[in-house]
């Protein structure tokens, strides 16, 4: 159970405070309701590039990182399809430093040509390091492109291609900032060794006078249902063959999400999970196999990825996975297996509450989804899933026409 208090400032900034006096630290998290789904198709990767620019100095403070480090703190940020999150963890006695810094960059960013120039290069290097210079590094580009035809999830958060990032201008930056980086589009969460009254007083003091903005209305096209299987085969310079299967699934808050998540666990989470245990350990037909979901706010994807063992073809490997999925479609999951999955979820929720930063980020995410109190409902949502729900959801998920398939074919060794 994570207890918290909620306050809304006059300018619309939502403030949540969670007290935890077992830690000497405090986490301060500012979430902005903007992600890569809000980008234009010809300016992809911009939300993430912008996240980098938020460290380039603000109206009254030339550099963001120096003061945090002087306060003994650490800070970082991440962007995904749905949100951008900035977080600071610092010794509780220096909490005000985070308020000072975060409020100043919400008040007015310093738009700096040099910072933009350097960060464009840094992000292009990040693109190379994570997507271009890694085997299978472009898998997410291909999966998004196959699975989504209309919805902006069709490009990854890092961007469709480096040139989109290289072309970003200072005008784009200003426009984006005043459109999205406003208090009425943000959630501030403070978690750790702090009293609520003190946190609220500081929020009011530092953020209270920041003017409200006009947030653009979101018009995100709905992805039409997929009606036939999509396949792509890549002949690439990779060390071994690999395959990915991506299935459309429910959005994060849909009741179906919880059964889908448990199905994902049944297939891929932990040493006893079906795909790992049966295909990798027992039949030894895979060298690697995993199952996970994108857990996006709009309808997302359940993904299975695998690398077949030496001598096992991609076609065989794919057929083996389909057999396992077919079983979930046709045969209800044993009660004891469902209980195991629920125990695992409950345990991981307990462990996730060990870190103040984790709690801050989770509270902010649930508040964005509609209500931070949902964080304490999760266990019940999972507990309520029945084997019948699992069966029905599996039947809807694992239809061939709901699937996008990606194969990587490695170069065959030349015969001597």
């Amino acid at each position: 159970m994570i207890t918290f208090q909620r306050y809304i400032l006059d300018n619309g900034l939502k403030v949540l405070v969670h007290e935890d006096d077992s830690t000497p630290m405090v986490a301060v998290n500012v979430l902005y309701d903007v992600g890569s789904r809000d980008e234009a198709p010809d300016k992809t990767g911009f939300a993430h590039l912008f996240e980098h620019l938020m460290f380039g100095g603000s109206a009254n403070i030339p550099d963001f990182d120096d003061p945090i480090q002087l306060a003994g703190g650490e800070n970082n940020a991440f962007t995904n399809t749905d949100l951008t999150s900035f977080y600071n963890v610092l010794p509780a006695q220096n909490i005000e430093t985070a308020f000072w810094l975060e409020s100043d960059r919400m008040l007015k960013l310093r738009f700096n040509k040099k910072v933009l120039g350097v960060q464009r290069k840094v992000v292009v290097e990040e693109f190379k390091e994570t997507c271009l210079n890694q085997p299978y590094g472009d898998a997410w580009h291909h999966i998004s492109d196959l699975a989504y035809k209309t919805h902006p999830y069709r490009w990854p958060t890092i961007g469709l291609e480096p040139s989109h990032i290289e072309q970003a201008t200072l005008d784009d930056v200003k426009q984006f900032y005043y459109a999205y980086y406003r208090p009425n589009n943000a959630i501030l969460v403070i978690a750790g060794n702090v009293k609520s009254e003190e946190a609220v007083r500081l929020a009011e003091k530092w953020f209270g006078s920041i003017p409200t903005g006009q947030i653009p209305t979101r018009h995100i096209p709905v992805e039409p249902p997929q009606t036939e299987q999509r396949r792509r085969v890549l002949h690439a310079d990779v060390p071994s063959d690999a395959l990915y299967l991506a299935f459309h699934m429910a959005p994060r808050l849909a009741p179906e999400f919880y059964a889908s998540d448990l199905i994902t666990d049944a297939l891929g989470n932990g040493p006893s999970a079906r795909l790992f245990r049966r295909l990798l350990k027992e039949q030894k037909l895979f060298a690697h196999i995993d199952c996970y979901l994108s857990a996006t706010h709009d309808p997302g994807l359940l993904i299975i990825e695998g690398k077949p063992s030496e001598g096992v073809s991609l076609e065989q490997a794919e057929a083996l996975i389909w057999q396992e999925l077919e079983q979930l479609r046709t045969t209800p999951l044993p009660e004891v297996e469902l209980q195991k999955l629920k125990n695992k979820v409950e345990s991981s929720l307990v462990f996730s509450e060990l870190s103040a930063l984790n709690k801050a980020i989770n509270l902010a995410t649930f508040e964005l989804l509609g209500d931070a109190a949902l964080i304490n409902e999760e266990v019940r949502f999972y507990q309520n899933v029945t084997t019948e729900d699992m069966h029905q959801v599996a039947a809807r998920l694992f239809r061939p026409e709901n699937c996008s398939v990606l194969h990587y074919v490695a170069p065959r060794p030349a015969l001597n």
Binding site: Q69, Q93, E125, K128, Q134, H288, E353, L354
Partner: protein, 421 residues
């Protein structure tokens, strides 16, 4: 309100590692207990001194540990997996040069359900021959993948050059290394080294007397003794060299520049820890400021101390666009030269100290973090007061002392350099 004015900063004081409570189980095994926090969870780590220094053949240490969970006593591999998952526990065997570590996370009230598995693994692991074969096949695949990554290749190469290709800390795995592994090697390694006079236990979380009693009833009743011969590190005769391994078709190159250093007990360790932080150990470090934030050559650049029980090394690592390799290398040497020729100014000293004090405080945040610091001290044969020594160094070391250290340890002729790309 003047927004240009920073709020006052309060220094972190009285930073001290909470000492563990020490128990001895009936079989003589020492347990280090760190009890704090609010959640009813347990982290249990068993450390066997059965790592690379003790193995009689390359890779035996890692494969013995990797196969422990593939069936033991009355439990099949599948049952072990099933029981762990059913009770919401997880068991991992993270890679460690010097020891074989089993890490178990469990909810406190479920610990009694999963401990018997651990006991079976310590008493009678099966080491099925076909599982070793599968382990090798999977690892060969992973190896092929690793060898396609420039940063991994650069790390492998520089550590091999620094310590030498046969040294426990220097050797690399190759397909031939895997081909030489036999089940008998694993059994031998296990029988001689997985004994109750060659291990220590670290437990953290909200620990009750009942949990300690439970440990004693289970692991305390296990009794295999061995005769461990003390490890004498082999002599190292390597000389600094520069290598460029070409890798066609890549858009980035990996750079590693570094040297052999020393273990945690060396009198200059704490000072070098501060110096490495100043150079590349945090976001505001000189390498990040120059090569990322000023020039935009890379997403990340860092320097670090890689510390082992009997030795250690220091290295700088980064991946940069191919067109930036030459200047990046030049800039790295320029930053190292600056460390040798000019003392850091007051502002930078203040920043490094403050950053490190915060990061040391974070290391003591919560039972699991404290438990890991305790484990590191014991497993690397350092005293608990090492932590306070490090704190004192961070608080008091002078810019001149750092400059002296840079002159002693960061001469360009003493550095190895590997570029892959």
């Amino acid at each position: 309100m003047n927004r240009k004015l920073a709020p006052p900063i309060h220094a972190i004081t009285n930073l001290r590692l909470p000492r563990p409570v020490i128990h001895t189980l009936d079989n003589g095994v020492t347990v280090y207990e760190t009890s704090m926090g609010t959640q009813d969870v347990v982290r249990l780590e068993i450390v066997f001194y059965a790592g690379r220094p003790q193995e009689h053949k390359h890779l035996v240490s890692r494969s013995t540990l990797g196969l422990l969970r593939e069936g033991a006593g009355p439990y099949s591999a599948a049952e072990i997996a099933e029981i762990l998952d059913y009770y919401g526990s997880s068991l991992s065997t993270p890679f460690n040069m010097d020891s074989a570590n089993l890490v178990l996370y469990a909810l406190s009230h479920q610990l009694d359900k999963v401990l018997p598995l651990l006991v079976a693994m310590l008493e009678t692991p099966a080491f099925p021959a076909e599982e070793l074969d599968a382990f090798i096949q999977r690892n060969l695949k992973l190896l092929a993948e690793d060898l396609s990554k420039p940063d991994v290749v650069a790390y492998r190469q520089i550590t091999e050059l620094i310590f030498g290709p046969t040294h426990p800390y220097g050797y690399n795995s190759w397909p031939e290394t895997y081909a030489q592994l036999h089940r008998d090697d694993l059994v031998h390694h296990f029988n001689t080294l997985y004994t109750c006079d060659n291990c220590e236990i670290f437990i953290s979380g909200k620990i009750t007397p009942e949990i300690i009693a439970l440990l004693n009833r289970t692991i305390g009743a296990w009794n295999r003794r061995g005769k461990v011969t003390p490890f004498v590190p082999p002599p190292i005769h390597t000389r600094p060299e520069k290598q460029w391994l070409t890798k066609p078709n890549g858009v980035q190159s990996a750079i590693r520049i570094g040297r052999r250093l020393f273990d945690r007990r060396h009198p200059d360790y704490c000072g070098m820890f501060v110096l490495s932080t100043m150079l590349g150990g945090y976001f505001g470090s000189r390498l990040m400021a120059n090569i990322r934030e000023e020039k935009g050559y890379t997403y990340n650049i860092y320097s670090t101390l890689d510390t082992m029980r009997y030795d250690g090394c220091f290295y700088i690592g980064t991946e940069v666009g191919n067109e930036f390799v030459k200047d990046t290398v030049q800039q790295i040497y320029k930053e190292i030269e600056l460390l040798r020729t000019q003392p850091a100014d007051v502002e930078e000293m203040e920043m490094v100290r403050s950053y490190l004090m915060g990061s040391l405080l974070t290391m003591l945040d919560g039972p699991f973090n404290v438990g890991e610091v305790v484990r590191t001290m014991v497993a690397e044969d350092a005293p608990f007061h090492f932590f306070e020594d490090l704190v004192a160094t961070v608080e008091t070391i002078s810019a001149q002392q750092l400059q002296e250290l840079a002159n002693r340890y960061l001469q360009p002729d003493d550095l190895w350099e590997v570029i892959v790309g």
